[in-house]
């Protein structure tokens, strides 16, 4: 019976894909609750949460890394929005000469392998005393998120209905008032999406922090890296889980934040 055979085959392939996707995640989850686990045992010998306690201990450096990560990510969002909202307004609304050239310009950081750029940023920052400071790390994260913050806010402003602005203007509102009461609120969901995107990029950023922040500023990705290199898989896995949760939540919710009409205008 070819039909039943086909069904069984697609079931098998789906099962394999599910294993390929969730297997690594499951293995990491096991490590977060393993107290003792060594070769050749297939499952942990002792289970428990003692490593969780070590991670979240008030004086532990994991808590410091978490705090650093969140503070840096929030600052990166603020800096990025301060840059991207005016740029998005100009690109999405204003009469900018060479508009598509400017849009492409912001794509450039994505077109070059970024590692070589990052190590030179670190060297330049060293000259300004920015290495090992929060400000230095925030700036590196900002450049990584720049194309997303600028492109998404451009699309968000471009999707605002011009007639509503005209109506407000006809009722006598000045340009800034029109922006504050009409344009900005209508573009806000898209801008929020770009803020969340930038927050995640900053939270997950490794290379820039590795060159600019170390050893004075430790974020969660660096804690994960150090723990993993020391062979402390429990701490590494717990840190990985902390980073995994927001990225999966965003993956599941992204369609709610990025409305189709905004998405359709990205890059156009």
């Amino acid at each position: 019976m070819p039909r039943a055979f086909g069904g069984a085959l697609s079931g098998l392939i789906l099962g394999l894909i599910a294993f390929a996707i969730f297997g690594p995640i499951a293995n990491m989850l096991l490590w977060t609750v393993a107290e003792v686990w060594y070769y050749p045992h297939k499952l942990p010998l002792e289970w428990g949460f003692s490593f969780w306690e070590r991670v979240f201990r008030p004086q532990g450096n994991a808590r410091l890394s978490l705090l650093n990560s969140v503070l840096i990510a929030l600052s990166t969002v603020v800096v990025s929005l301060a840059i991207a909202i005016p740029a998005g307004l100009a690109l999405g609304r204003g009469r900018l000469p060479f508009r598509s050239l400017f849009l492409l310009l912001f794509l450039l950081p994505q077109a070059f392998p970024s590692l070589a750029v990052h190590m030179n940023i670190a060297r330049i920052f060293y000259g300004f005393g920015l290495n090992g400071t929060y400000a230095g790390v925030v700036l590196v994260h900002t450049i990584q998120g720049l194309v997303f913050s600028v492109w998404i806010s451009t699309a968000a402003f471009a999707a605002v209905d011009r007639e509503l602005e005209e109506a407000a203007r006809n009722l006598g509102a000045g340009s800034f008032r029109v922006f504050r009461t009409v344009t900005l609120p209508l573009a806000l969901p898209g801008i929020l999406a770009s803020a969340i995107f930038v927050f995640l990029i900053s939270l997950d950023e490794f290379t820039g922090t590795y060159f600019v922040g170390v050893p004075d500023v430790t974020t969660l990705p660096l804690l994960l890296f150090t723990a993993s290199m020391e062979g402390n898989y429990q701490i590494a896995s717990i840190t990985a889980l902390i980073l995994l949760v927001p990225s999966i939540a965003f993956m599941l919710a992204v369609e709610k934040f990025l409305k189709a009409e905004v998405l359709a205008k990205v890059g156009s």
Binding site: G6, G7, S10, G11, L14, I17, A18, I21, F22, G23, P24, L30, W31, Y39, K42, A82, I83, A84, P86, A87, A90, L91, G94, R95, L96, P97, F102, L105, F106, L108, A111, F112, P113, L115, A116, V117, H118, M119, N120, R123, I124, I143, L146, D204, F206, T207, Y210, F211, P221, L224, F225, S228, Y233, A236, S237, A240, L243, L244, S247, I248
Partner: protein, 295 residues
Amino acid sequence: MAPRPAPNCVSLPVNAPDRKSLAAIVLMMPALATLCVLFLYPLGYSLLWAFRNEEQDTWTFANFAKSFDFYSTDIIFTVLIVTVSTALIGICSILIAGYLALGENRVAVLILRWLYRWPLFIPFIVAGQLMRTFLAKNGMMNNILVSGGVIEPLQAVSFLDWRGIVVTFVWKQTPFVTLLLAGAIATLDRSTVEAARNLGARRIRVLVEIVVPQVSTTLMVGLILSYVLMMSVLSVPLMINAQSPTMITVDMAWRINSYGDYEVANALGFVSYAMTAVVAWIYLRQGIRQDGNPR
């Protein structure tokens, strides 16, 4: 007493559109300044310093000679890993996006649509840690294979070498390219697909001969972005396979952290730009051959 300016150069009347574009340029300034200071300036620095002998304050090709001398194996290794990964990402994403568009079993399509995206926003460093445990000698993959009787316990080997890097890259980047492809396929005109199906063409043939050619631009853009990204990632090769041979990203970090040697590191950086430029050039040439315009 300072001479008063002649009346005709005090203020030229500015008409409205010009003022608007001036305002737009002013609004762009912070973003442009950020891009220049934090990207273009270090980029130029990295390009120039690849040819620099800092002690003697001269220009030289010696950094490249040293790079090829020390790291030619790693350069080849990097090209192979990134090329193989890009090819696999392309194949997997075409198959998944193709099934999402042409699959006849609605339940399977729904499950696949829900399933494939999970790694989309998982950071590379987390993917590296997941694979470090999953692909290890006593990782879950080997355990399942042994339990399933596919391999003997003694045959279990660690996959934490070039294969581990490829697996991690494919795992992480396939959802991104698939998402782009599925979006592009959704906007296609279905009539040619339906016509071919009605004429009895097999689904895989419809996919390869009708659907993929129409979304090839999207596919190439997704693959090139992935290629550049894989060329820049430091965490995955560091975590999966930092012994020799390894990727040149690891070598760059090593030159800087261990020797403070920005000359060789920048020469290797230049090599990574060159590898990306080759791909971009192939893409543009392909576009010109297809319709006379780079797309």
